[in-house]
Amino acid sequence: MRNIRLSVPDNAKSGDVIELKAMIRHDMESGYRVNIQGQTIARNILTFFECRFDDNVIFSADFHPGVSANPLLKFHMRAQKSGTLTFEWTEQTGQIFTKTAALAVLE
């Protein structure tokens, strides 16, 4: 399993806009690098990221080779009720990496 780090506030007030951070360890091999034998290293990147709150999509992103290795993303959401956040990355091979976090919203 990939090393995934998330940062979600411990709690939030209803209506607050909170910042979420998500980072995954991945080489994001661009397909433009050359190894010591002079051969091109095959491309292997994450192509898609999605953040869902109880199955509703909050934010998503399409990645191309111009995204750095170990991509970090900071984005926001409007907290309305307590629930589960799902962070999901899709690799070009179709493999999916997921991590969830609980969000507690004080009424």
Binding site: V67, L72, K74
Partner: protein
């Protein structure tokens, strides 16, 4: 540690020289390629300056990881929000770096991420609003160590 052999140095530098000369010219994007990439995504609609703030360092020591901040002015309500934000590079082999999709539940159209840049250039951020209008910001950065070129 074993000393670096003359043979190895020749082999590596030979590989680099061959790969640089064999690269098809079209593989390296220039501005026309970026304009085509923008047209492919947004069509021929006019793009206005403003509403988008793109922050990247003026000097980037390492083109492999350049921190980037983009914020779009929008109330982010059901009727008026940012649907899409795309980042384009003038000099990367692939002009489109990333595209971000927002929803009214995002609350705020602001992202931070790290990108690769293949040399000193302008970076462009184009936002599409829910009414279909397009807004743009660009920023220049000097890249000391370019991604894609060094091994």
């Amino acid at each position: 540690m074993t000393p670096i052999k003359r043979r190895d140095v020749l082999r590596i530098s030979g590989g680099v020289a061959v790969s640089l000369t064999l690269l098809p010219k079209s593989a390296w994007a220039d501005e026309p390629a970026m304009r085509k990439s923008i047209r492919d995504m947004f069509g021929d609609k006019p793009i206005q300056d403003g509403r988008v703030t793109l922050t990247i360092p003026t000097l980037s020591e390492n083109g492999y990881s350049v921190s980037m901040n983009v914020e779009v002015e929008s109330p982010m309500t059901e009727n008026d929000y940012v649907t899409k934000l795309a980042i384009f590079s003038e000099r990367n082999p692939i002009p489109l770096i990333a595209a971000y999709h927002f929803t009214p539940a995002s609350g705020r159209a602001r992202i931070a991420s790290n990108i690769r840049l293949g040399g000193t250039q302008n970076v462009h951020a184009i936002a599409q609003m829910s009414d279909g209008s397009l807004w743009r910001a660009s920023a220049k950065t000097f890249v000391t160590l370019a991604a894609c070129v060094v091994l």
